[in-house]
């Protein structure tokens, strides 16, 4: 009894002394090679870590003066990072990998920080939605059961094919998470989204549904104009469709692959080489931003998200209305105006070791690039691991985390210190297929549509 009491007090004391430096912590500035930086972003809520690190002063704590500039699309953003116009940018997870292996513009890009998990959804137009409802009566309520599989889209796809047309859907970039998620969702119900090949860089060979590229902020306008009948995009562009009643989100990527990696912070390898200390300082600030975004109170409510949504709604950042950004940022998602669901993990910026640059994430994107033919020939399993190691830089991340730990900003258990860089194998996909980053070829062979080796 007494001993347990003593132990308790000891724990309380220990945690108190441990917590103390958290509040009085100060950053130790590094020997920066460059202190005035310019980062690019696309108007999406998942650029939050960059914006928050600037607005909440995490960058300036590191002695960095950072300008954050909106870019009109992913291609221009990547080109600006390659040309040195930008020092770094908010990027799609697939972008540094694709650039490094030479899909599209070839350049060596690296990443030491994953910005977020989840955060995308697939939206279809009102007319497609009502036809899906006609075909599947269970959807014809105000709160249909989720997740909705692409099986319900099948009759609409067939109807288009019978008329000699193809359903058109939008995604944001050929190597974007959105492209792979949309393809995954369609293919998991046997709808062929088309293959890439050396001669077909549009990825439409034998497609039943044709996918095309539209920059994220243009999605709602393009849907409304009737050029596409659905799209896969990040927030706030799905909530925008709900609030302006032009479409209905049918599934989020949380349901397609639970806690999938979404954006990373990318810099060119040459820049990282020239500015190692600056790179560390940037990653430090970003880790703190991620932590701030995911801070919760004792009940588990996200306490800083409303403020984050307000900052993001500034016209020089995401610029959409506050209550649209707020919809998905504060742990909820509107599937229809009448269908608001709690999704506390729709946006993850820090939990689940989110910010760590996992090799297994890189390998997954490589398997998808191979599956859909963007990588034109079969590669050995070792190639997948080597390529991921070229792009992902956990060494930089760990060093930054170590500094933060010494300064008292994070705790021991915030960082997976002794991982080999691969997440545990998971089955949490919409079709339940097991993914193990160590076995990319085995994973490829389990899918019915797409290259199997």
């Amino acid at each position: 009894m007494l001993s347990s009491l003593l132990r308790h007090t000891a724990i309380i004391c220990a945690s108190a002394t441990f917590c103390l430096p958290l509040h009085t912590a100060e950053t130790e500035q590094l020997e920066l090679e460059k202190s005035e930086l310019k980062f690019g972003f696309i108007k999406l809520t998942d650029c939050a870590p960059l914006v928050i690190a600037k607005e909440k002063g995490f960058f300036s704590d590191e002695g960095l003066s950072v300008e954050v500039v909106a870019q009109s699309n992913w291609k221009i953003l990547l080109d600006n990072v390659i040309s040195g116009e930008l020092d770094g940018a908010h990027m799609l997870s697939g972008q540094p990998i694709a650039a490094t292996i030479g899909i599209g513009t070839k350049a060596h890009i690296v990443t030491a920080y994953t910005m977020d998990l989840n955060g995308n959804a697939i939206t279809v137009s009102n007319s497609v939605w009502s036809r899906m409802q006609e075909a599947d009566e269970s959807l014809d309520t105000e709160t249909p059961p989720h997740p909705i599989s692409a099986q319900s889209l099948r009759p609409v796809v067939d109807e288009y094919l019978e008329n000699g047309e193809k359903l058109q859907m939008g995604m944001v970039f050929p190597v974007s998470t959105h492209n792979y998620e949309l393809r995954y969702w369609l293919a998991s119900s046997g709808i062929h989204p088309g293959m890439y090949s050396a001669s077909d860089v549009g990825g439409r060979t034998s497609a039943e549904v044709e996918l095309s590229v539209t920059p994220p902020p243009m999605m709602p306008a393009t849907l409304e104009a009737g050029n596409i009948q659905g799209y896969c995009v990040g927030e706030p562009w799905n909530q925008k469709a709900v609030s302006t009643s032009i479409g209905v989100p049918v599934v989020t990527n949380y349901d397609i692959w639970k806690n999938n990696p979404e954006k990373i912070f990318g810099v060119s390898a040459a820049w990282a080489e020239e500015n190692p200390q600056t790179h560390l300082a940037v990653v430090k600030a970003l880790i703190r931003a991620g932590q701030w975004l995911d801070a919760t109170d004792t009940q588990g409510t996200l306490i800083n998200r409303s403020e984050a949504a307000r900052i993001l709604s500034g016209s020089n950042y995401v610029g959409a209305d506050f209550d649209i950004i707020k919809n998905s940022m504060t742990g909820f998602f509107y599937f229809q105006k009448t269908d608001k669901r709690a999704m506390p993990e729709f946006n993850v910026f820090f939990d689940h070791f989110c910010t760590y640059p996992w090799y297994s994430d890189g390998v997954w994107f490589l398997t998808q690039m191979r599956r859909w033919g963007q990588i034109t020939e079969a590669k050995p399993a070792s190639w997948y691991a080597e390529t991921a190691q070229k792009v992902y830089r956990p060494d930089v991340y760990r060093e930054a985390a170590k500094l933060l730990l010494a300064e008292g900003f994070i705790t021991e258990e915030d960082i997976p210190w002794d991982t080999d860089g691969y997440k545990a194998p998971t089955k949490e996909f919409i079709d339940g297929i097991l993914y193990d980053g160590h076995d990319p070829l085995g994973y490829l062979s389990k899918h019915t549509i797409g290259h199997k080796e």
Binding site: L32, E36, S65, S83, P217, P220, I246, R310, G319
Partner: protein
């Protein structure tokens, strides 16, 4: 005598004013001046009525029609903004830019200046926080009331829809079963007719359901103006709080002086501790001090990382259009003059003019972006960019490859008018003048600079005026595509934002672009008049 003197003095002023008006082609001011001097008041008043009052009336009519029509056109991005909404958006844009300016200023202030400002700002912040809270509550109230009223409206319809759905489902089943048993006794033609009737009934029922759903959707999509105003109020309050808190932060610690002071303190502490340190630590500390000195230099040179504001973007756009215009003119005038001098040269150049003149800026821009990018692979270290950044005046503009590509696009699209006019001007020099030159045995250079160029200048300037106008139009599109900081990018960012006030902000840009274009045109008119002999060039 003195009276006479005064009269000639006033006459001279009047003459001067009229000349200025003539030069700047502000003809509508002429009757005003004449009226002040009491010259034929009746005629002048009539003229004022025609040239001043009528345009103003027409503009007022336009604003009136706009204000009346705008709320009736509903788009998914909201209603078309009325003039008052646009002027509000203009104020928002200005506020944003003023706030950024004040933050930039605060970054450089000395302590004596900061302290009173900080006190003031903190008091404001306190006040702003309470109003923001009130605004939050107002929004919650308005939204609650809105949901309640919508619920009342939709409840009946959704109840109807629900019952209709269940009865329809049942009835469809019974009808279908009945039909199936009945069909066994009927002829094929009759069965087809029965099935057709059944199908007709089914589609009628689904149509009914659809219309109910549409009603529901319409009610739910209705925008409640009360909620709208509450939200706008909330946004403006929250933005003020945000601005004030970051302003306070800059005033209290994130300014240059405080940062320098912190570094100095650190250096001093290290220097003091160095005295007692052993050799090993000494090296470390000396090294650290050097690092701190290095950092101090960087902070010394630093400035507030300012977000781009519309005034900055306007200045950059104007600089860009002039850069492109200059490049275009430097290319166009010599070629045009050569064309005018030699018909053989003209014949050689004509196909290029004919072929490239109609090409749109949308085509030139991506090509030029790639070409410029080829010349400047790494802008950070390229000598040209470095030189432009260090240059006085234009250094502020942070000229980058996107700027250069936009300027070149302007040049490519605008040089044709100048070129064609220069050729025409040179070709139509008066024969008599050339004959005089022959008699005087003037050399080629003298002929060119004394006779040909002066007499063709009015036409060259007329061409340049058209070029500048074309260039300004082209520039906005080029900036939009190149994401080169400027008015074009502002429009594109607003379009991408899709916030409730973005639409109105784009309307503001219409007027800004128009106004800047008008000023540019006037400047060119003045030049044109200065070089022409008769001074009679159309003003519009």
């Amino acid at each position: 005598m003195s009276d006479e003197n005064r009269r000639t003095a006033t006459e001279r002023i009047k003459h001067f004013l009229l000349q200025v008006i003539d030069l700047t082609a502000l003809g509508f001011l002429e009757p005003v001046v004449r009226l002040i001097y009491g010259e034929e008041p009746r005629v002048q008043i009539r003229k004022i009525g025609r040239f001043v009052a009528v345009p103003i009336l027409a503009f007022l009519c336009f604003v009136g029609i706009w204000a009346a029509w705008a709320p009736h056109h509903k788009t998914k991005a909201g209603e078309v903004p009325t003039p008052s909404v646009v002027s509000e958006a203009y104020t928002t844009i200005l506020t944003f830019s003023e706030r950024e300016d004040s933050k930039e200023e605060a970054y450089l202030l000395s302590e004596a200046e900061r302290v009173p400002l900080l006190q003031q700002a903190e008091a404001q912040l306190l006040k702003a926080r309470t109003t923001a809270q009130a605004a939050d509550e107002a929004v919650a109230h308005a939204q609650e009331a809105d949901t309640a009223s919508k619920k009342q409206l939709t409840e009946r319809i959704s109840e109807q829809l629900k019952t209709h759905k269940s009865t329809y489902k049942q009835e469809r089943k019974t009808r279908e079963n009945a039909l199936k048993t009945e069909l066994g006794t009927l002829s094929s033609n009759e069965s087809i007719a029965r099935v057709a009737a059944f199908r007709e009934w089914k589609s009628k029922q689904t149509r009914l359901q659809k219309s109910m759903k549409e009603d529901l959707a319409r009610i739910r999509a209705q925008v409640n103006p009360k909620v709208q105003t509450a939200l706008a109020q909330q946004t403006s309050c929250a933005e003020e709080v945000q601005y004030l808190s970051s302003y306070c932060d800059i005033l209290s610690k994130s300014n240059k002086e405080s940062k320098l002071a912190a570094i100095d303190a650190e250096i001093l502490a290290l220097q003091n501790s160095m005295k007692q340190a052993d050799t090993k630590n000494r090296y470390k500390q000396a090294d650290k001090i050097l690092v701190l000195h290095e950092r101090r230099k960087k902070v010394e040179a630093s400035s507030y990382a300012k977000a781009s504001t519309l005034p900055m973007q306007i200045i950059r756009s104007i600089a860009c259009v002039f850069a492109g215009f200059l490049i275009g003119t430097v290319i166009a005038v010599p070629i045009g003059v050569c064309c005018g001098l030699s018909s053989t040269f003209m014949a050689a150049v004509t196909p290029f003019i004919a072929l490239f003149k109609p090409v749109s800026p949308i085509v030139w821009l991506p090509i030029l972006l790639i070409i410029v990018g080829g010349f400047i692979p790494d802008p950070e270290t390229h000598w040209l960019i470095q030189w432009l950044w260090d240059a006085p005046l234009i250094g502020e503009l942070k000229i980058n490859p996107a700027f250069l590509a936009s300027a070149l696009t302007v040049a490519m699209c605008s040089l044709w008018a100048t070129m064609v006019n220069a050729a025409l001007g040179v070709a139509s020099v008066d024969e008599d003048h050339l004959n005089v030159a022959k008699v005087l045995r003037l050399g080629f250079c003298a002929r060119l600079f004394k006779i040909i160029l002066p007499s063709s200048l009015p036409l060259i300037f007329a061409g340049m005026r058209i070029s500048l106008g074309v260039g300004w139009m082209v520039l906005i599109a080029a900036e939009l595509l190149a994401s080169s900081e400027g008015i074009g990018k502002f429009v594109w960012d607003q379009f991408n934002n899709g916030a409730s006030d973005s639409f109105a902000k784009m309307f503001v840009v219409v007027f800004v672009v128009g106004f800047v274009g008008l000023i540019l045109d006037r400047i060119m008119i003045i030049f044109q008049r200065l070089v022409s002999f008769e001074g009679s060039v159309a003003a519009i």
